[in-house]
Amino acid sequence: MNQLEAFFLKHYIKTPRRNIFKFSFVFMVLGIALSVGILSAGLNLFQGYESNLKKLLLDSFAHINISPIYRDSIDEYSSDEILSIIFQKDGVSSALPLLQSQLMAQVGGKVRAANLMGFKDNANSYYRDYISQGKQEIASGEIIVGHYLAEELALSIGDNLTLMYPRLDQISAFGLHSVTGSFEIVGIYRCGYYENDRSIVICDIDEARDLLNLPIGYTKIHVKLDNPDKAPYYGRDLAQELNNRFTVIPWNYYAESLLRLVKMEKWLIFILFSFLVLIAGINVISAVGTIILDKTDEIAILHTLGAKPKSIKRLFAYRVGIVAVIAVIIGQIFGLLLSWLVEKQGIYKLKGDVYFIDTLTFELSFTNLLVVFFTSTVLIFLCIMIPLKQIQKMQVMDIVRRNY
């Protein structure tokens, strides 16, 4: 920046009413603020969705799943062995043996698929954090049911639910034989991850074992880590230490691609919404064109006094640039407000069966703020530069002569 540019920049800032807060800028500012606001809100909400989904996945799923390869279940002895190996490692926050299986939940004439779980140690089980109604303890004959499952079957606390486990090994001429058990609902489970909320049923492990007709033992061991991102490393180590007698699967195996997809969608939305800023840029182009026409005399004077066209162009770029940057900041504040409103409103809800989670929340990330700020500013500056090309082509002679 040379002396002349610095001088004018100072002048613009010192007398904003003459140079910055002008009526000819109103629509330009409005356009920028609106488009940047929508861009930021879109990104904030998508960021919230992404973080929410990841948090839910990590909270309500095992970070590492250990299951038997050759048999139906892990016996008590192997389970103790596995647990001792797991707990030797740093960074393991919990490891829970459990029984899990798909079966049917039935009430009246309605039947739904359900995912039955029975934990060895209910007191330490992570489902307890997600009991939205009722109690966390389960005694024999009692059951906890996922929120949407209960809703679909029109059940609430105190009602009875029948679980049916079809025995495929006992198909006879009389049809399918199935084991059934009746339970009283004592709690409602709701973690926010739709798939879980519409399938989970949790009962006492011994009753689950009877229902599934399994020997003493477990179908799985769920391991939770302090840092879930390290699950693949822990998984590899564990598999080796267990001599590959068990299947060891980190959460990433199931969910990583989903999270990547969501991340990709987030940036896709960002790119798409950036076009809104470009549309606002059209306003900028015409605003700058108007100012140039308005200031031809000034351009002629500066040219006559020997200022380089590049310098003259920059004076305009600074002047409009200040306005644009202010507009972008206003837009970002507006975006924040918009995301807050969307979060607080109750009219539009996400469809859980499509989007996995059913609540809209936004997350403000510093990186996103910067990304929005820089992308918008750069786009707008490009739009500012387009009409400034005229300045180089202007004939001072014509301007001076026009006044005769």
Partner: protein, 223 residues
């Protein structure tokens, strides 16, 4: 010798007709000259002046400033306009947004002088031209004569070798007009400042040490 223009040709295309304005006009300006150019309206005086001032390029002919041949289309033309030439137009062409002082500071800032240096020089010049009480006025708060004196101060800011003026008093009443002419004469006498001035005012032209008339595209010395 400060400036030498030799055999300048310039024509304009006007729809289908070519108007030949300058047809081999030549002019030499020496240090301390106060030159007036007169001529009928539309004969090409302004055209000639803008060519001398590197604001317009001739079709043919050569322009020499301080011994160097200069192409007004080259990038150096800016530097010459800034350092070696000063301009005063009939209409004052002050920047409306800036005070008298700020307007005078512009050529200095373009040259790269610091703001405080520029301010000091601007105050000196405005003081010399009798405007020390108008430093912080905006152009629309000044009389026509005062505005023209501010233009003159701005033209003088970088101590140019030559000041070019296109009917500097053409828009002023007689009293203000003679005030500005007085200033020009003083600057020429006291500071040995060279001028080339286009004027219709024959009386004023009488104060020049050389008078040229532009007619049929060439300059002829008449006084």
């Amino acid at each position: 010798m400060i400036l030498k223009a030799s055999n300048i040709y310039k024509s304009y295309k006007d729809s289908d007709q070519v108007i030949e304005v300058l047809k081999g006009a030549s002019l030499e300006v020496n240090s301390g000259d106060l030159i007036c150019i007169t001529g009928k309206s539309g004969c090409g005086k302004s055209t000639m002046l803008y060519i001398l001032g590197l604001l317009d390029a001739p079709d043919a002919g050569e322009l020499e400033i301080a011994g160097k041949i200069i192409d007004s289309r080259s990038n150096h033309a800016h530097e010459f306009r800034n350092r070696d030439l000063g301009f005063v137009f009939q209409f004052h062409y002050l920047i409306e947004d800036l005070t008298a002082r700020d307007n005078v500071m512009l050529p200095l800032l373009i040259l790269g002088k610091s703001e405080s240096q520029a301010k000091k020089r601007a105050d000196e010049l405005l003081d010399y031209l009798g405007l020390s009480h108008r430093l912080n006025r905006f152009p629309n708060q000044l009389s026509g004569g005062e505005q023209q004196r501010v233009s003159l101060a701005r033209a003088l800011a970088n101590d140019p070798k030559l000041v070019l003026a296109d009917e500097p008093t053409g828009n002023l009443d007689p009293a203000h007009s003679s005030e500005v002419w007085g200033m020009i004469r003083n600057l020429n006498k006291e500071l040995n400042q060279s001028f080339v001035i286009v004027t219709h005012d024959h009386e004023a032209a009488g104060q020049a040490n050389k008078v040229f008339e532009l007619s049929e595209g060439v300059l002829r010395q008449t006084g």
